[in-house]
C-alpha cells in the first residue's frame, strides 16, 4: 500500500509554473530523496504537500485520503511532519519546550508531552542539552532540534528539507545515523538533499526534478549516471566534453 501518492501536481505563481505534472508514489517505510538543481521546485513540492501552498492542480493522497486544501496544522495531525531548510526554532524557549510543542500534537496533557519529549531527546542523543536556550546551540544542534520537534509530533511521513546542509563531515555522519534510526522506527522519509553522501548512503530511491518536472527516478547510482541528470546539474558543455 502506498503511503503517499501524488499525481498531476501543478503549481503556478502568476505566469511562472514552478511545478508541472509531478507524480510520486512512496511506499510505507521507504526513504526517498528528492534532488534537483537550485530553483527546480523541490521546496515548492514540500510546501504543497505540507499545506503551506495550495496546488493549482493535481491531487495528493495520504493514506488514500486527499489532503489538498487542508491547513498545515491539519496535515500535521494526519501524520505528515516536516523540517525547514532554514531552521525555525522557537528562539525564546529552551530545547525541551521546543520539543514539547511538537509533542502536544498527540496529547493535551503537559506531563505526557514532557515525557514524550524526553523520550525523543533521548532517542536523538540530545538529553544533556534539554534545558539549553536556543541561542547557545550550534547549527548542527539546531538541525537536530528540528528533527526532534517534528519527530515529537509522531509523524508517519517526515519531510526533511536539507538536514545535512552546512554541516561538517563528522556532523553529517551523525545525522545520517540519526535519520537511519528514525527510519528503522517505521517513519517513512522524503528528503531534499544536496549532499551526495547522505543521498547515496540513505536513499532507497531518488527522484530528480528540473524546472518543476520529473526527469529521472530510480536507484541512487543508476540515477546519478543518467545523462539527463548530469546535464541538469552540470550543463550541456560538460557532457560534450565527456563524450569527446
Amino acid at each position: 500500500m502506498s503511503l503517499l501518492k501524488i499525481s498531476g501536481l501543478r503549481k503556478d505563481f502568476g505566469g511562472l509554473t514552478a511545478v508541472l505534472d509531478f507524480g510520486l508514489t512512496i511506499a510505507k517505510g521507504e526513504i526517498v530523496a528528492l534532488i534537483g538543481p537550485n530553483g527546480a521546485g523541490k521546496t515548492t513540492i514540500f510546501n504543497l504537500i505540507s499545506g503551506y501552498l495550495r496546488p493549482s492542480g493535481g491531487e495528493i493522497l495520504f493514506k488514500e485520503e486527499n489532503i489538498v486544501g487542508l491547513k498545515t496544522n491539519q496535515i500535521c495531525k494526519k501524520g505528515i511532519g516536516r523540517t525547514f531548510q532554514i531552521v525555525k526554532p522557537f528562539l525564546g524557549l529552551t530545547v525541551i519546550k521546543n520539543v514539547m510543542i511538537g509533542a502536544f500534537n498527540q496529547t493535551d496533557r503537559p506531563d505526557l508531552s514532557e515525557e514524550r519529549s524526553l523520550q525523543v531527546l533521548e532517542f536523538l542523543d540530545f538529553l544533556d542539552k534539554k534545558d539549553y536556550p536556543i541561542g547557545s546551540l550550534t547549527i548542527a544542534d539546531r538541525k537536530r532540534l528540528e528533527l526532534a520537534r517534528s519527530l515529537a509530533t509522531q509523524p508517519h511521513l517526515l519531510l526533511l528539507d536539507e538536514v545535512a546542509a552546512g554541516l561538517n563531515p563528522k556532523e553529517t555522519e551523525e545525522i545520517i545515523a540519526m535519520i537511519r534510526k528514525i527510519n528503522q522506527r517505521g517513519v517513512t522519509l522524503l528528503m531534499i538533499e544536496h549532499v551526495m553522501k547522505t543521498i547515496t548512503s540513505l536513499a532507497d530511491r531518488i527522484v530528480v526534478i528540473n524546472y518543476g518536472m520529473k526527469i529521472a527516478e530510480g536507484k541512487p547510482f543508476e540515477v546519478l549516471r543518467d545523462p539527463n541528470v548530469v546535464k541538469a546539474y552540470l550543463g550541456e558543455a560538460y557532457q560534450i566534453a565527456e563524450n569527446q
Partner: protein, 349 residues
Amino acid sequence: MKRDRSGAHPANSFRNVLLIFFLVLLLVLPFFLNPYLLHIMIMTFLFAYLSRNWDLIGGFAGQFFLGPVVMFGIGGYTSTLLNVHFNLSPWIGMVPGGILAAATGMALCYLSFRFGLKGIYFGLVTLTFPEILRVVVTNVGFLGGVNGVLIPFRQNSLLYFQFAGKLPYYYISFLMMLLSIYVMYRIERSRSGYYCLAIREDEEAAEALGVDTLKYKLICTGIGCFFLALGGTFHAQYLMFVSPDTFFGIAFTLEVIIRSIVGGVGTLFGPVIGSFILTPLSDISRGLLGGYRGVHLMLFGAIIIAIILYLPQGVGEWFGRVYDGFRVRFDRNVDRKATPWRRGQGAKY
C-alpha cells in the same frame, strides 16, 4: 516555571518566601495608609491586573494588540448601563460585559487574521477601533453621550459593588490582581500556553507542528479581553462614573502597555512589577512636581528610556538574573549553560 520541578533548591524556597512576604505585606498594608496612598495602591493593582491580561495577548502570544482600552470600555459601559437602566448589580453585569468584550476582541482578531493583517497592521486595526467606539459613544444619547454616565449611589453594599470607603476597593482590586496572575499561571502550564508561545516565536513553524494558530490566537484573545472588561467594571464602580474619554481614550492603552514593557513582556510577574514601579511613580511625581506643568511626564519618559536602554527585557530580567545567580551559587549540579537569565539570553520559560 518548569525547571523548578526538580525539587526545592534554595533559590526556589527563597522565591516562595519572598512571595509570601509580599502577600502578607499587601494584606495588612491598607491599615497604615491614608486615602491618597490607598488610591495609589488601588490603581497599582488595577493596572497590574490590566497589564497582566493585556500581556497574555500582547506579550505571551505576541500579537500586536493595541486596543486593550476597548475591552475596558465595553466592560465598564455594559455593566454601568445595565446597572443604571435595569437596576442590575454590576457583579452580574460584568459577565455580559466580559462576554461582549471577548466576542468583540475575537471578531477583530478573526477578521484581521482572516485577511492576512498581521503584526503592525493588526496593531493599527486595534488602535483605531477604540477611536471609532469613542466617537460612537460620544454621540449616542442612550450611551450617555459626551457627558458619560453617572452611577447613582444607592447604598454602601457589596451587592451593588458600591462602597463609601476605599478599603473594600483595595481588597477587591488586590484579589483581581491575584486572580489574573493565577489565570496566567494556569495558562502557562497548559497546552494552550505552550501553543501561544509557539505562535509568538514562529507561526510557520508552529503550524508545521500541528498548532492551529488561528484558533489559539482567538482563544487567548478571548480570555484576555474577557478579563480586561472585568477591569473596566471595577474602574467604573470605583469612579462611579463612565465617560468616553477615560474608557475609550488611547492614553489608557499606552498606560497599560508601557507597564508590561517596563516590567518584562511575556513574563508571569513582569506586568505586575511594571505596575508596581510605574503607577506609584506617575502619581507621586505628579503630586510632587505638579506645580511645574509637564515635568512629571519628562521624568516618566526618562525612566522608561533608561529601562529600555539598560534592561531591554524589562525590570523582571533583573529578578531573573538574581534568581539564576542563586541557583548557580547554591546548587552545584546546575548546568551553567541552562541559566539563560544569567547569560543574558533571557529564555523566559
